[in-house]
């Protein structure tokens, strides 16, 4: 751990955020050094809850590994197994039946919709708009329910297997899928309009924590974080898998790189995901769902897929035995989170909560941390809750300055109208 640097006239304060809460799947420990209200330096420490999944994976058979890796992350639980399965399928050289391809596409895109709505809710919470949090999570619920209906579980779907899908989604459920995603369209449209038109959100999000195009490339970021900085990469298009090259959709990019751009990318991507799901349901052919892979020959391959947060990258090496010899996993937040150093330094401390939330690092539980005192410096430290409080105060200040009512008062009636 880096020691606390002295700073200008000794007035540098350390704000620790983290390290972790058992409910949070990615424990992280941020240390922010602030002078006045400006962040001057930051450090990040991870791996407080290292589970050794890469090593564990080499003790499982090829068929068991998907169940293990879908537990890497509760929200990206269809993309991790899929990346692994793509790698193994490349080693085997097997061709996945079309029906299985379409069904995998449905599940990954449903996952993207619920993950992006979850993010919108959290972003609202960090800004002091708890109504947005409630709404977004409410509209996410039909998606969770349909996922449970078609795969048997709200997360850890276990739908994909090497060579196809484990369990066929019956045609009778296709109408339910369309109904569920349709129910999301209106509210997402409303949330998008609210974000684009809201003067307070503009004040809070535009030109905040900008990650420049050059920094996005230098930090090798992926997913919405890269696309909001004008780096047009998306594995679904750049290395198409499943049915993504068979349906019509667009890669959403914005050049600005600020928090607003990241919000816009995620909101507009939700619509693309809804479009993809509906096309996949429409085009899904009848037929086999399993290629019947018997054994995995010696070889090595990579597999990567576009998770809601960015590229999930897996590498698998086989020696022809029952288990992988090496299985490397790189989740998207692993490359996205270090880019904080490029985007947060020099920012207002009240903006840091939303700037961190903007890359969506699975960050929901840190506000339950206790207040701590740094034993070395004796500084009074702030915890994440106070940091969030600062962020809320800043939103209220902007509302007052602009002379407008709080968010839910402005948008509530419109929403009621929409739902009626």
């Amino acid at each position: 751990m880096r020691s606390v640097s002295k700073g200008v006239n000794g007035k540098r304060t350390l704000i620790p955020v983290g390290p972790f809460h058992p409910l949070q799947e990615e424990p992280e420990f941020f240390q922010l050094w602030v002078e006045g209200e400006t962040v001057v330096d930051m450090d990040l420490r991870i791996s407080y809850n290292h589970r050794g999944i890469e090593e564990l994976s080499t003790r499982k058979t090829f068929d068991q590994v998907p169940y293990l890796v879908e537990r890497v992350c509760g929200i990206c639980s269809s993309t991790h197994p899929l990346a692994y399965i793509r790698a193994v399928e490349t080693i085997c050289g097997c061709e996945v039946p079309p029906r299985a391809k379409y069904q995998r596409t449905m599940v990954t895109e449903l996952e993207r919709i619920h993950s992006h709505l979850l993010w919108v809710g959290l972003a609202g919470h960090f800004l002091g708009y708890n109504t947005v949090f409630m709404w977004a999570w409410k509209y996410r619920e039909p998606i969770m329910e349909i996922l449970e209906k078609i795969t048997g579980n709200r997360c850890a779907y276990a739908n994909a297997k090497i060579g196809g899908v484990r369990r066929d989604i019956p045609n009778e459920l296709f109408d339910d899928i369309v109904r569920a995603v349709d129910s999301c369209w209106g509210p997402t449209e409303m949330l998008t309009n609210a974000v684009l038109d809201d003067p307070v959100l503009h004040a809070r999000l535009v030109d905040v924590a900008t990650l420049t195009h050059e920094d996005a490339i230098r930090y090798c970021v992926t997913g919405p974080t890269a696309r909001a900085s004008g780096v047009p990469i998306d594995v679904r298009r750049d290395d198409p898998y499943d049915a993504f090259d068979l349906v019509d959709w667009d890669v959403i990019t914005f050049p600005e790189g600020d928090v607003m751009a990241k919000a816009k990318v995620r909101l507009l991507e939700t619509f693309e995901a809804i479009k993809i799901v509906k096309q996949a349901v429409r085009d899904c052919p009848n037929g086999e769902t399993d290629a019947g892979v018997e054994e995995v020959p010696p070889g090595e391959a990579i597999g990567h897929v576009e998770a809601p947060r960015g590229e999930t990258f897996h590498y698998v090496r086989s020696d022809g035995g029952r288990c992988p010899v090496r299985h490397k996993i790189r989740a998207p937040s692993y490359v996205n989170v270090p880019s904080f150093r490029a985007s947060c330094i020099g920012q207002h401390v009240a903006d840091v909560t939303i700037a961190m939330a903007a890359v969506d690092p699975c960050y929901s539980c840190t506000e339950r941390m206790a207040v701590t005192k740094d034993s070395k410096t004796g500084n009074e430290l702030m915890d994440a809750k106070e940091l969030q409080e600062l962020s809320v105060q800043r939103t209220r200040w902007f509302e007052k300055q602009l002379g407008i009512e709080p968010f839910d008062k402005r948008w509530g009636p419109k929403l009621q109208e929409l739902l009626a």
Binding site: C220, D239, P240, R326, K328, R330
Partner: protein, 154 residues
């Protein structure tokens, strides 16, 4: 939108590799593994990343009989191709030139490989603990084949 990798670009990429005495080990439709002499790796990476718009996805470290294999996964996103450049770091050396000074995106993965496999990345600005806890004993690398749990007692 075509389904396969752009052939002309991949050919140019493979020519560059062959000029540096790299050997193609596996070549699939949209990915390939190339064994590269250790001295040529960093200049090649730098060339591909700055001139060919390649993106470093991650680095994989594998403990093998004669040392540690490092696999640099490069995504050529514009051309639907993923190339893996493989080098063998002999056990007697256990060191590799760091790429973090010009590519900060590699900082974490190099620190991780240092923690788990004991490869020293020379020139890395912050070769500190990332995965292992601060009280983990020195010189014990959990992803090496010979690792025993008893060695890890702090």
């Amino acid at each position: 939108m075509s389904d396969t990798a752009t052939p002309s670009v991949i050919e140019r990429f493979e020519t560059k590799l062959c000029d540096e005495h790299a050997i193609c080990e596996t070549r699939k439709e949209r990915q390939g593994v190339y064994s590269v002499p250790i001295a040529k790796l960093v200049p090649l990476l730098r060339d591909f990343i700055s001139n060919d718009n390649a993106r470093l996805a991650t680095i994989t470290g594998i403990d093998v009989r004669d040392g540690t294999e490092l696999l640099y996964h490069l995504c050529f996103d514009d051309h639907k191709y993923v190339a893996t450049l493989k080098v063998l770091v002999p056990r007697t050396v256990d060191a590799m030139e760091s790429i973090t000074p010009w590519l900060p995106g590699a900082e974490f993965i190099e620190r991780e490989i240092h923690d788990l496999l004991g490869i020293d990345f020379t020139g890395h600005p912050r070769m500190e603990r990332l995965i292992l806890s601060d009280d983990w004993p020195e010189g014990v690398y959990p992803l090496r084949r010979g690792f025993k749990k008893e060695d890890a007692q702090p």
